[in-house]
């Protein structure tokens, strides 16, 4: 009997120690990169305090190019290089005299945007930029009225470049964000913004005259990616703000926090997604007329003909980057799935804010094949975090390295993380 008791006590002790070890280990893993990740994944800080690190891209030699939204020491692009292979960038080269968001690499060129132009730099055989001070101007004269001014970009394999042009407006009211001001039909903003424009990579100095409005009815797209398995463009939209502040008799503060959804679309040429007339209600699962356009929260009106989202995310989370993971290192589950970086909300106040995370959506045949799950979390700084200005980090850009790792940029703390799969639980 005594032996049995001893063994039970021993077993209990072992189990307890094992559990204690486990939790300590998890804690350490979380603290290492400051992020909470699924078991087996590890985050390391490649660089931090870079400033407003918006989008980023990784070259075939491992160099990371980060686009800054505000100039740092007069420069708007940082090239980060890890010369000793310890995972931490130890050499920085800064260039470009303009600030902005978009950055991409295609066929030996680096493309980068200000809030009104797109520039191009050439890589030489050694993967160094030949013309850091004299880039080609590919596109110029795009609308920049401060609000939703980021010009994100992506390229396909046919010499096309897709540039997002956000609407400098919330819902195209005659006076923006002002209670009682009517919506404009047709919305004049849609002629030069509120969509994705298509340009060519083989022409310099293109303006709206040479561009094609590829898709319309998008309020503000910051996250986009080309899906090579479908050969189509995919985008994530920032839905409208302030339903209750602008229409307090129609919407409660609680409804405002959950409406409208942030939408994930496949964007085929010619599609119209409904802004500013319509918004997507994730509870009714349909697009309804906005209150500035005669809507009562239920009426569909013209919105029945607008494109529906592939997936609806919680309201106001602000999807700032989309990345289709084409690597193999993360495992079968993640192959061709979508990662989305949510910059984090402000328009849920006084209710708890949301987002400030990177989510994963499994994809099959170009469509979501399951619910989204939070992949990387704790950017804002845990439970004490209450308001956007207090967030430590806000995820903004995603990129994949040639080794199958994923990089995340942050425009609040200026941190770049590298996410790898180690398999260690």
């Amino acid at each position: 009997m005594r032996r049995i008791i001893t063994s039970v006590v021993f077993l209990f002790a072992v189990t307890f120690t094992a559990c204690a070890n486990d939790s300590t280990k998890n804690k350490q893993a979380a603290i290492a990169g400051g992020l909470k990740l699924p078991p087996g994944f590890k985050a390391t800080v490649v660089a931090d305090k870079l400033g407003k690190a918006r989008h980023l891209v990784v070259n075939s030699n491992g160099d990371i190019y980060v686009k800054l939204e505000r100039l740092k020491d007069g420069k708007g692009i940082l090239r980060l290089r890890d010369t000793n292979g310890d995972g931490v960038a130890d050499e920085t080269f800064a260039f470009a005299n303009y600030a902005g968001t978009g950055i991409a690499i295609k066929n030996g060129y680096l493309y980068s945007s200000s809030n009104s132009e797109v520039y191009r730099y050439k890589f030489n055989a050694k993967n160094e930029i030949e013309n850091p001070d004299n880039p080609d101007v590919i596109i110029k004269g795009l609308v920049d009225k401060r609000q939703h001014a980021s010009k994100s970009l992506v390229l396909d394999d046919k010499g096309n470049i897709y540039v997002t042009i956000g609407a400098p407006s919330n819902a195209c009211q005659e006076t923006d964000r002002t209670a009682g001001s009517p919506g404009q039909t047709p919305c004049p903003i849609l002629e030069t913004a509120g969509g994705v424009w298509l340009f060519r990579t083989d022409k310099l100095n293109q303006t709206y005259a040479e561009g094609i409005r590829y898709v319309t009815g998008l309020r503000n797209v910051v996250g986009l990616d080309w899906n090579y398995s479908m050969n189509e463009l995919y985008v994530t939209q920032h839905g409208r703000d302030q339903l209750s502040q602008l229409n307090p008799t129609q919407y409660s503060v609680e409804q405002n926090a959950e409406l409208p959804a942030e939408e994930f679309f496949m964007a085929k040429k010619g599609m119209d997604f409904g802004w500013p007339y319509c918004y997507y209600d994730p509870i009714q699962k349909k697009k309804v007329l906005g209150p500035e356009y005669g809507g009562d929260g239920k009426t569909e009106g013209q919105c029945g003909t607008k494109e529906k989202p592939l997936y609806a995310f919680p309201a106001h989370w602000a999807p700032n980057a989309l990345l289709f993971y084409t690597g193999t290192k993360f495992g079968e589950k993640y192959k061709n799935g979508a990662f989305i970086a949510f910059h984090g909300s402000w328009n849920r106040a006084p209710l708890k804010q949301g987002g400030y995370n990177v989510v994963f959506v499994p994809m099959k045949d170009g469509k979501p094949s399951g619910e989204h799950e939070i992949f990387a979390d704790d950017f804002a700084g845990g439970e004490e975090f209450l308001t956007p200005a207090k967030a430590q980090h806000r995820p903004c850009g995603l990129a994949m390295g040639t080794d199958g790792s994923m990089y995340i940029s942050d425009d609040q703390g200026g941190t770049i993380w590298k996410i790898t799969y180690t398999g260690e639980k």
Binding site: K52, E69, R70, R146, Q147, H148, A149, T175, D176, R177, T178, A179, Q242, Q245, P248, N256, W346, N347, A349, P350, L386, T387, P388, A389, K390, R394, D411, Q412
Partner: protein, 136 residues
């Protein structure tokens, strides 16, 4: 006789001072309600605003400085590039002409005395004078 005059004078000053204190307290309390219904969504519960979008109200020149400019901002809105402590803000401030003179004074008095701010009261008369000037 002289002595009692001085005593009276002191009493009057003390009384008017304490009335002023009561006035500002009451104004702040009324202003808090207006802040919560009209301003909080953008400027946030802590007055810290939203980086890149909605300016903070904490110890900034706009909030603590020229009252007439501040009153105009509420009545007429503001849509211009603004840099505060090295950050620029993109969202326009909508005008709030529906707020009554006293409500404008109250909310500004609340903002000027919250979030770590301390500044003088904005009175109904001051708002009235500006509103008359801009003919709203």
């Amino acid at each position: 006789m002289k002595k009692s005059l001085i005593v009276l004078l002191i009493a009057v000053i003390a009384f008017s001072f304490s009335t002023q204190q009561q006035d500002i307290k009451a104004s702040i309390q009324r202003g808090k309600k207006i802040y919560e219904s009209t301003c909080l969504a953008c400027h946030q519960p802590d007055g810290a605003g939203v980086p890149r979008m909605n300016p903070p109200l904490i110890k900034t020149k706009n909030v603590l400085g020229d009252k007439s400019k501040l009153i105009r901002t509420i009545l007429m809105g503001l849509d211009e590039e603004m840099e505060i402590n090295g950050e620029v803000y993109s969202n326009p401030m909508p005008s709030q002409p529906h707020l009554k003179d006293q409500e404008v004074g109250d909310v500004l008095t609340y903002i000027r005395n919250s979030f770590g701010n301390k500044a003088s009261m904005v009175t109904t008369a001051e708002v009235k004078a500006i509103r008359a000037k801009i003919k709203l």
